[in-house]
Symmetry: C2
Subunit: 196 residues, 2 copies
């Protein structure tokens, strides 16, 4: 075929990543083979292995291309914000990208080096929006300042994630989100002072 000129450096790297992303969205991480990516990018495995040490690294790099930030909800009251935020996360984890993320987390197999690269999208960099939303609620006097604690703030999303990883549900029903918010999250953050 000859795409005129032989690609090098950044151009080739982008082509590989595009191919990897395509494979990832079409077939998931399980279907992401080095041979297919190479073929799709119109190159060979050599060029891939010069850039990423193994399949997982390539998968993670490709996955990062999928991440996109959603605007923070602001409904004026805590319950609405929290529920909306949780629905956002649920949609994300239920989407093809979420399935890929779950595959990657599985493939990383607890290797902290790889998990760290996925945390920006899944881990507790996700604490930021929760702290923001809670901060607004504190300012409104809805919530005690003690709730501005990463472990407390992220309880809801951790419980939701548990639905996915421990139960393997493709998507969490809205009831579950409501239950998490009303039975756990709001009672927790709305406490007045410390335990008595």
């Amino acid at each position: 075929m000859a795409g005129q000129t032989r690609r090098r450096g950044a151009a080739l790297e982008e082509a590989i990543l595009r191919a990897a992303v395509a494979e990832l969205t079409e077939s998931g991480y399980a279907g992401l083979t080095m041979d297919k990516v190479a073929a799709r990018a119109g190159t060979n495995k050599n060029a891939i292995y010069r850039r990423w040490p193994n399949r997982l690294a390539l998968g993670i790099a490709a996955y990062k291309q999928l991440g996109k930030a959603a605007p923070l909800p602001d409904t004026g009251e805590l319950r609405g914000d929290v529920l909306e935020l949780l629905r956002l996360v649920n949609r994300n984890w239920s989407s093809p990208a979420g399935a890929v993320l779950r595959e990657l987390l599985a493939a990383a197999g607890g290797a902290a080096e790889f998990l760290a690269q996925l945390q920006d999208q899944s881990g507790d960099a996700a604490a930021a929006p929760w702290l923001t939303v809670l901060g607004r609620a504190v300012a409104r006097g809805e919530v005690a300042p003690e709730a501005l604690h990463p472990r407390v703030a992220t309880v809801a999303v951790v419980l939701l994630r548990n639905e996915f990883v421990a139960r393997g549900v493709p998507t969490a029903p809205d009831d579950v989100l409501v239950e998490i918010v009303d039975e756990v999250y709001l009672p927790l953050v709305r406490r007045r002072g410390r335990a008595g």
Copy 2:
């Protein structure tokens, strides 16, 4: 050679499972290969595949042999019980068996059929001890009866599990357990009535 007589049925099945358990504890699920199990059991892959459809099924079956129930703590007050229960879980997840469980959860890759078989050891059959401990606290008047709700009761252990699956820590430091108990769990279950 020649272990006198050729084994059949249950005897052979036990031998295979013993071999699989040994491989699992020595090399983890990643190192559990059908060939090695067959060799170790003094048989061949045929005998295995007649009993389990694939490697994961064998791995799960072998893992189930590792499960053992620990006695429920009873310190006379909720905080002690909860912390002790959490330490129990932490030790379990930090042990070789815990590492294997994590590998299996990863390999199951969210397939609900397989996850269901692992839930007895990891999922919300684990709710029972928490409900028991909370029930005692309710009887003592330490806790409001509303806390006797599976999702509420298991919050602590879900948060702990999150440390493992999302952060990939080999073991959770005791500080974290204390923090989960004091910052989240106790404030949550010790609430007086519903949120106000």
